[in-house]
């Protein structure tokens, strides 16, 4: 019983150390993405860089702060479908707009 409690405490301590590393990484990547913006890149390059960095930051928050890295199957199934339909919502209206008949 005490072993279990001790293990649990050690678990949490390890996680907390991880949170600090993620914290620093998030601040660092924020600095990078802001720094890059000062380069005043062309829009499509700027978008690529910013999106990649943002996705990376978001992944860190999801995996570690939101515990996704150790989460259960059901949650992943929910998120997988959500991600798929999110992409549909992002892509299809824009594609349809671009494929408009031009008279």
């Amino acid at each position: 019983m005490e072993n279990h409690a001790a293990n649990h405490a050690a678990d949490i301590d390890r996680q907390v150390r991880g949170y600090m590393v993620v914290f620093v990484a998030l601040l660092a990547m924020t600095a990078v993405t802001v720094g890059v913006s000062y380069l005043h890149l062309e829009v499509h390059h700027a978008v690529e860089v910013a999106l990649v960095i943002a996705c990376f930051k978001a992944s860190l928050v999801l995996l570690f702060f939101m515990h996704l890295i150790s989460e259960r199957h059901v949650i992943f199934v929910i998120l997988a479908f959500t991600a798929a339909f999110f992409l549909v919502l992002m892509i299809l209206p824009i594609l349809t707009n671009l494929d408009h008949i031009r008279l």
């Binding site: 924020t30 999801l62 929910i78 992002m90 707009n97």
Partner: protein, 199 residues
Amino acid sequence: MEGLIPYITEPREDTGLTNGKIGIWLFLASEIMLFGAFFATYIVMRLGADVWPRGWEAQNVPLGTVNTAVLITSSVTMVMAWASLERADLKKFQMFAAATVALGFVFLVIKYIEYTGHFHENMWPRTSTYLAVYFTMTGLHALHVILGMSVNGYFWLAGPSYWAAGDRQLLINRVENAGLFWHFVNIVWIFLFPVLYLL
């Protein structure tokens, strides 16, 4: 209703989850679709606009950067609040919960400064589609910050009574779920900030 509904404090064996954990992730799934619609709107508006300002032309980037750091820090204090409960440290929990609410407040103050700055320069949602998108998306995001602050504020104040009544696991679960919402609000900003300020 006591005892009628299982899996509130202890997870169900086969799914390994409590009801609240599934519930909050389902809610977040709907929120992803909600903000997704706005991001899709942003893309459509920008592609269809004759002119669209570069982020730094329309916004105060340093101020936005500070706000980004504020929210990131608040995610750390949020997860530390939960971890403190897991370590049975009620005092630390209250400190981190209060810090999270305070950082949310700082975020809103900075947003207020930005908004009033825009209004003074006669920049309103109706002025352009860029500003329409900016105000609507950051406004909706700010409403979510307020909601998160309210929930966290409630647990900051009510936490001790859960603890005293022996409802420790219930509090831990609820704070974790509140944290999931708060982290999501942070993630939205992680995308919103570059999209509106840096591109």
